[in-house]
């Protein structure tokens, strides 16, 4: 079926991953982005997967978006979904503080452990912006976390669809800006390190001893 004739053309294929505690609204965000609706979904069992074609920066992109379950019970199985992802969306619920603190305590560690892509772009998303009166995490805190962790940041609402398109668009633009990710996204391209300059000492390797 992968060679089916009516498959639209695209310039790049990017794999995006959504993670975060159960109930923060990952599936809702994805639904809001792909079909512009909001409805109550059952908690994800394992993983959900959606494809969306978008035009960004004059490029035709195919986005394969993996929506994982936040439920702890499925976590050992989700590790493999991290592999090869060019973008990771870390979602928390602005009305639930624990979902925010878990990002640094649980999810960031999972990324370090399982992500195979050193350059992969990370994006912090605070969801349920519509419930402003119940807010438990300030925007400033979100910004600080994003700066410390070196990722993009946005607050949005799957329900009112505020910032939902922007969230995905910013992430994709950043991926398009990163040559190594771009190379992965376009099939058949290889990089040969011997033909480029010799590998430079990166910060992580030079800091030892």
């Amino acid at each position: 079926m992968d060679s089916s004739s009516n498959q639209p053309e695209f310039d790049y294929l990017f794999k995006l991953l959504m993670i975060g505690d159960s109930g923060v609204g990952k599936s809702s965000l994805l639904l809001s982005f792909t079909s512009e609706t909001f409805e109550d979904l059952s908690p994800t069992i394992g993983v959900d997967f959606k494809v969306k074609y978008v035009n960004v920066g004059g490029k035709k992109l195919k986005l394969a978006i993996w929506d994982t379950a936040g439920q702890e019970r499925f976590r050992t199985l989700t590790s493999s979904y991290y592999r090869g992802a060019q973008g990771i969306i870390m979602v928390y619920d602005v009305t639930r503080r624990d979902t925010f603190t878990n990002l640094s305590q649980v999810w960031a560690k999972e990324i370090d452990l399982y992500s195979t892509n050193q350059d992969c772009i990370k994006m912090l998303v605070g969801n349920k912006l519509d419930k402003e009166s119940n807010r438990a995490v300030t925007k400033k805190e979100g910004i600080n976390f994003a700066r410390d962790y070196g990722c993009l940041f946005i607050e949005c609402s799957a329900k009112t669809r505020v910032n939902v398109q922007q969230c995905f668009e910013e992430l994709v633009l950043k991926i398009l800006d990163t040559p190594s990710l771009l190379a992965e996204g376009s099939k058949g391209m290889k990089t040969n390190i011997f033909k480029e300059r010799p590998p430079q000492t990166d910060a992580s390797t030079s800091s030892c001893c």
């Binding site: 009516n6 059952s42 290889k190 040969n192 030892c208």
Partner: protein, 962 residues
């Protein structure tokens, strides 16, 4: 005298002679006019050994002979020290004490050698030319054949003074007195003292300075037979155990388990310098000769490196890199056959003899030994962190101490790593693995617990899976053996729980069959819980605290409980909630994950195609359901298994109870409001707060909620009676099928990755003190490996592809690191007591090699030799001195000592001395200042002497007033 020669020239010759002179003059004028800066721009070249000495040259013709005139000049450089023993001095500078100078010589290509008269003639030509352009440059001309290094030279020092230079060499039969300092001193004195004068009466203020070079005895002088020409791997799986009984320098280096490296440091040269002092008598010189080099003012050391280090042809160097080259060859060949067996049976086929010879399979005894080392030895739990670098995991191989990594390392040295030998060993290896499986013997060097490490290569993951399966199988068998006569072996039983609490009522609760189970069960510990695929859930259990509620035994029988959940009560029955024992999530190797991903993706894609045609919401919604139905099957199974177990442990529970336990966030407690209004609600049992108030979250209570659907379908079954999520028999058999049918190139690809990683991990264990650069280099090689090896995981490789070439380059990079590391290790152990020196020397060596490293280019050789020197500090001298071990009787017998200044019984291999006499002379050539007579101290006599114990070279410069 020279002028007279000129007078005899006939007219025609004279004119060509004059033309020659004016030609020289023109060149010199141009050089003088340009000055150093412009000359640099015009392409003057720097001398290799010097930081600041440059030369330009010009070709000249005279009487059908061509000459080459070179101008050597200095550009001020901040590192150039004024010392007379500066190591970057040109020979002429050292011999004659000049700074810049001209050399004129017949073109070396013409093969013309100057005899003394001819040399004088040439010299006078240049001298005339120089004085014509009033240049004060010294000029020298070689005399005789070049090996003699004889020179004459002249320098106009102004209107009155002329300095003349002369150097010659004595190759044999050096008179005994000239072997000693006293005799050399007298030789110098004789140049200016008239023989009639009594030397002992007349006091000359002679300046003296000396530089002696010592060389340690080669470290491996006695066993040089072994080093390079032994065939390291002919038929031996593991060289270095029986053939070498003599202790090797690297015996305690991590690589010595696999090979013995040649010591890259053959020895050291020590330079001892006596700085300038005044000598007034021969006697003083005789005393100086008794000085030990310990009294020298300065010690300088540099290593003598093995020839093989700089040799680009790596044929004779054995190490990980050399074997990796062979493994890459094997990989290149692995595409020839479908299965590994094909390589072994190929022996029957006639083929080129040379090919056959290089593809020998070692005899069975060697195979047996390797297998024994792999499977029988070290049954102890391997330490997987050993040798692991923090970057190790970026290389997709197996951990160093693991079974597959050890197999790969053995293969490197097995039958010289040819494809047939590898195939033979692999087949035996798999056979052995199958034996472990059939006999339920634990797989050695593999952990049988934990999760599968997806960052390792697939074979390692599979072996990890197998180890777990064997462990599970063993547990089942143990249970079986412990309980002979059990009627209940068919179901994959798990140890039933009930630690303390339910002792009293258990007889009522347990079915007869389970009653039996309990008797044969060992007391529950967290480990055997884990090992048996059961996990007590994350909730805090308090087994002792079984409330009254439980005593009201319900109609149904509670089974598979791991204790109660805090003080949580069920909603519809006044009982405590019990945590069920649940099955562990199944282990998956990466191909299993991949399969799952593909299933999801394929479905997602097919849906995307549909939805691109019909963009309706209904399809979108249905996709969710479809997805849940197909792709997340495994997670559904897990969920269903949890629900069944929960139902069994809590026979009276409802869906909401399950959610409260499994996904507390989807249960909205009314507690908050209730606290305020509790008094108004008398129905609530005040002790237990029963029934708990609250409701499911919106998303859980939606109509058609999948969770509820699964709940409705889940039977009440304790985990022990469920179909296992991981069937050890099936999964284990699948692993063996994978190993037995593995395509040769797939095996070789993983072997290459693993062998690279294991080599680096082994090398990483080398102790080299704290050489920062080495540490960085090792960190880098992992990253380089990872990026070169990456295509092996994604691309379909083919023989002779570009990737193979990259892999060969990677071997060269590894070789650089390996060599660097042997140097580091060797230095480290030689300078344990003077770490600063080992660091400094290593740093020099590292910087010297830096331009050639990391590029992986093949066949590159540089003419440059490493000669960077390091000054030895006073407190480090004993360490260096101890390297000069007293010669053995055997060694000293061979040599008659003829020079003095012994260091632990070693005489210098080279001695250099400079004598000089200085005088204040009035510089009356400064005509502008006739009243103030300018006084300048110049070296009127200077003699440079250098020699070994059987040759001598003397260079003299003398200033005279013409």
């Amino acid at each position: 005298m020279l002028m007279q020669v000129e007078h005899f020239d006939d007219f025609t010759l004279a004119s060509s002679w004059e033309r020659f002179i004016s030609e020289i003059e023109a060149v010199c004028r141009q050089w003088m006019a340009d000055g150093p800066k412009n000359l640099l721009e015009k392409g003057a070249v720097r001398l290799e050994f010097s930081k600041n000495l440059y030369k330009v040259k010009s070709e000249l013709k005279y009487a059908s002979k061509s000459y080459c005139m070179e101008y050597y000049f200095e550009i001020p450089h901040n590192e150039s020290k004024g010392s007379v023993w500066n190591f970057s001095l040109h020979e002429m500078q050292l011999c004659f004490g000049v700074k810049e100078f001209l050399v004129i010589a017949p073109q070396s290509a013409s093969g013309v050698v100057l005899d003394a008269p001819e040399a004088s003639k040439l010299l006078s030509a240049v001298a005339i030319a120089l004085s014509n352009c009033s240049s004060l440059l010294p000029v020298v001309v070689p005399v005789h054949d070049p090996s003699r290094k004889a020179y004459i030279g002249i320098q106009n020092m102004g209107t009155v003074f002329t300095r003349r230079f002369e150097a010659d060499h004595m190759g044999t039969q050096v008179p005994v007195q000239l072997m000693h300092l006293e005799g050399l001193y007298e030789l110098f004195i004789s140049k200016f003292a008239y023989s009639t004068l009594d030397l002992s009466v007349h006091l000359f203020k002679v300046h003296f300075t000396m530089k002696l070079t010592y060389r340690t005895l080669p470290y491996d002088e006695d066993d040089d037979v072994q080093g390079t020409d032994t065939e390291p791997t002919e038929s031996e799986g593991n060289p270095g155990d029986d053939t070498h009984n003599k202790a090797q320098w690297d015996d305690d280096c991590p690589w010595s388990e696999w090979y013995s490296a040649e010591d890259p440091i053959k020895g050291f040269e020590l330079i001892a310098i006596w700085s300038e002092k005044m000598v007034e008598s021969s006697l003083q010189m005789a005393e100086l000769e008794n000085d030990s080099p310990r009294e020298a003012d300065k010690w300088i050391i540099f290593p003598q490196l093995s020839q093989n280090l700089s040799d680009a042809s790596n044929g004779n160097q054995v190490g990980f890199a050399s074997q990796m080259h062979l493994l890459i060859d094997a990989l290149d060949m692995s595409f020839e056959a479908q299965f590994m067996e094909d390589f072994v049976s190929a022996v029957e086929n006639p083929g080129p003899d040379n090919l056959k010879a290089s593809r020998v399979i070692p005899p069975p005894s060697v195979v047996d030994r390797v297998l024994k080392e792999l499977f029988r030895e070290g049954m102890r739990d391997p330490n997987f962190a050993k040798g692991e670098h923090k970057n190790s995991r970026v290389v997709k191989g197996a951990p160093l101490e693991s079974l597959f990594a050890q197999f790969c390392l053995h293969s490197l040295w097995f039958g010289n790593c040819n494809i047939r030998a590898i195939a033979a060993l692999w087949i035996e290896f798999v056979r052995e693995v199958r034996w472990c499986w059939e006999e339920s013997q634990p797989l050695p060097k593999m952990p049988a617990n934990g999760s599968i490490d997806l960052s390792t290569c697939l074979i390692n993951q599979k072996l990890q899976m197998l180890a777990v399966c064997i462990e599970r199988k063993r547990e089942l068998n143990e249970d079986f053996e412990d309980c002979i006569g059990s009627m209940d072996q068919a179901s994959p039983r798990v140890k039933e729980d009930d630690p303390v609490g339910e002792e009293s009522d258990s007889s009522i609760m347990w079915t007869p069959g389970e009653d039996f189970d309990r008797k044969c069960d060992s007391p529950m510990t967290p480990e055997n819980l884990h090992g048996s695929g059961m996990t007590v859930s994350r909730f805090n259990n308090e087994p002792e605290d079984v409330g009254l509620a439980d005593l009201k035994a319900s109609d149904c029988i509670r089974r598979g409980s791991a204790g109660v959940v805090g003080s949580m009560m069920l909603l519809k029955s006044n009982q405590r909630m019990h945590t069920p024992l649940t099955q562990d999530a199944p282990l998956m190797t990466e191909d299993m994950h991949e399969e799952r991903l593909q299933a999801v993706e394929a479905f997602g894609n097919s849906f995307a195609n549909i939805s691109s045609e019909f963009t309706g919401l209904t399809e979108e919604a249905s996709s969710v359901i479809l997805l849940q139905n197909f792709s997340a099957q495994l997670e559904r199974d897990i969920l269903s298994s949890d629900m069944s177990a929960f139902k069994a442990a809590n026979p009276d529970a409802v869906f909401e109870d399950f959610i409260r336990w499994h996904s507390p966030k989807d249960w909205e407690d009314d507690d908050a409001q209730e606290n305020k209004s509790s008094e108004k609600l008398p129905i609530v049992d005040s002790d237990h707060g029963w029934p708990p108030q609250g409701q499911l979250s919106q998303r859980m209570s939606e109509h058609g909620n999948i969770w509820r659907n699964i709940w409705n379908d889940a039977p009440a079954l304790p985990a022990s009676e469920q179909k296992p999520l991981l069937d050890p028999n099936r999964e284990g058999e699948k692993v063996l099928h994978y190993l037995e049918t593995l395509r040769p190139h797939q095996l070789l690809e993983q072997m290459v990755c693993t062998a690279f990683r294991a080599s680096a991990d082994t090398l990483n264990q080398t102790s080299h003190g704290s050489l920062g650069q080495m540490a960085i280099k090792i960190g880098q090689i992992y990253v380089t490996m990872a990026s070169v090896l990456k295509p092996l995981q994604v691309d379909r490789l083919s023989a002779g592809s570009e990737i193979i070439e990259d892999l060969r380059r990677l071997c060269v990079v590894l070789e650089h690191v390996e060599k660097l590391l042997t140097v580091a290790a060797s230095l480290h152990r030689k300078f344990l007591q003077a770490p600063r020196l080992s660091e400094a020397i290593f740093s020099d060596y590292y910087n010297f090699n830096l331009p050639r490293m990391g590029t992986g280019s093949l066949g590159e050789s540089t003419e440059m030799t490493f000669n960077k020197k390091q000054q030895v500090r006073i407190h480090e001298r004993p360490v260096v001195s101890n390297m000069f071990t007293h010669p053995t009787a055997n060694q000293s017998w061979r040599k008659v000592l003829s020079m003095g200044n012994l260091l632990n019984g070693h005489e210098p291999i080279f001695r250099e001395i400079i004598f000089s006499i200085r005088d204040r002379v009035s510089g009356n050539h400064y005509a502008a200042y006739p009243s103030r007579v300018y006084q300048e101290e110049i070296e009127t006599y200077r003699m440079y002497i250098c020699g070994t114990s059987n040759d001598l070279r003397v260079a003299l410069s003398v200033v005279s007033c013409d």
